[in-house]
């Protein structure tokens, strides 16, 4: 979506009569991209649905304070990422999974989840991705699947481009090794 269209929608959102229309347009524009981003983090559809709803609810409540200097897309992405991460954190605490076992639990979600379908090599790749540490997994998915620029990722994840490049490089190396081993 162009920056101009975002500006238009933000202006419409500020007016009481067009608020709902503007937000509906924002949802239509960004829901799919945000859904896939969240889904790759939480794996299960039901969880991704919860997280996506919470993301847009937060956006609805915070859009009045949104600084127009930043981009709506990266702002929404940041909310979605934080929501997904805190969702997993809560879930981990609720079922008392120690941090070091968490990668296994993500893999379990992958094996047990509905609405997942891929051939053998795709499943092997997904399992390899599941073994990555949480942050590295997010960086890998954002770069590999969402094809984001490092600069955008840095804005969303509040980190440096250098750190992201290193993180992606490590992730790729690990995945490559796992694919080779099998």
């Amino acid at each position: 979506m162009s920056g101009n269209r975002d500006k238009e929608l933000l202006a419409l959102f500020k007016e009481k009569e067009s608020r709902n229309y503007a937000f509906n347009q924002i949802i239509h524009t960004y829901q799919e991209r945000l859904y896939w981003h969240v889904r790759r983090i939480v794996v299960l559809h039901e969880d991704a649905d919860d997280v996506l709803q919470n993301t847009f609810l937060k956006a609805w409540n915070g859009l009045d304070d949104f600084k127009e200097g930043s981009r709506l897309y990266t702002w929404l992405y940041r909310i979605a990422t934080n929501e997904a991460l805190s969702f997993l954190k809560k879930k981990r605490k609720r079922v008392l999974i120690p941090d070091h076992d968490f990668e296994n639990s993500v893999m379990n979600r992958f094996e047990e989840g509905d609405y997942i379908d891929g051939d053998e090599i795709q499943m092997k790749l997904q399992k390899a991705i599941c073994t990555l540490p949480e942050k590295q997994r997010i960086v890998f998915n954002m770069k590999y699947y969402d094809e984001m620029k490092y600069e955008e990722m840095a804005e969303i994840l509040k980190t440096s481009v250098g750190a992201l490049k290193a993180s992606f490089h490590h992730a790729v190396k690990k995945i490559e090794k796992m694919i080779q081993e099998d």
Partner: protein
């Protein structure tokens, strides 16, 4: 986008795998999602219409109260620091409990279980559970007559 050349160099096997989305969604999910969400927002809006005037009314006094509280705590801590020797102060059980509660999210659960495993249980202590249960039941207002009749 990652240049294929670069990916080919560092991960030849990965670069051979076709980039596919293995996740699926239920039929009509994206068509229904905006409506479902706007409905939720509508409910939330109704609630906020009621809460907003209350928030507006209580917000300034709450901010002032919070500021006073922060100053009071800072003052108390400064005085305590100035008049204490700062060495080996005993912590009350309540302070320890508060500390644990505050930092519980950072606790290493593995370490916690290890410590639990190391604690030796004194199995020589003989607790008369039967007596405790009877005492408890006697303390309750139980209708024994009806229990006996139902047995």
């Amino acid at each position: 986008m990652i240049p294929m050349k670069e990916l080919n160099k560092i991960a030849p096997n990965l670069s051979k795998i076709k980039k596919e989305n293995v996740f699926r969604v239920p039929d009509g999910y994206f068509e229904e999602f905006p409506g479902k969400l706007m409905e939720r927002i509508g409910h939330q809006g109704d609630r906020q219409e009621i809460l907003r005037p209350l928030q507006r009314f209580f917000k300034p006094p709450l901010a002032i109260a919070a500021a006073i509280l922060v100053f009071a705590i800072l003052g108390y801590l400064s005085i305590r620091y100035l008049f204490s020797d700062g060495v080996n102060q005993e912590l009350s059980p309540q302070e320890i409990a508060e500390y644990i509660e505050y930092y519980s999210s950072d606790l290493d659960e593995g370490l916690y279980y290890e410590v639990l495993d190391e604690i030796e249980v004194d199995e020589t202590v003989d607790i008369d559970y039967e007596e405790i249960i009877i005492d408890y039941l006697l303390g309750q207002d139980v209708d024994y007559q009806s229990i006996m009749e139902n047995l």
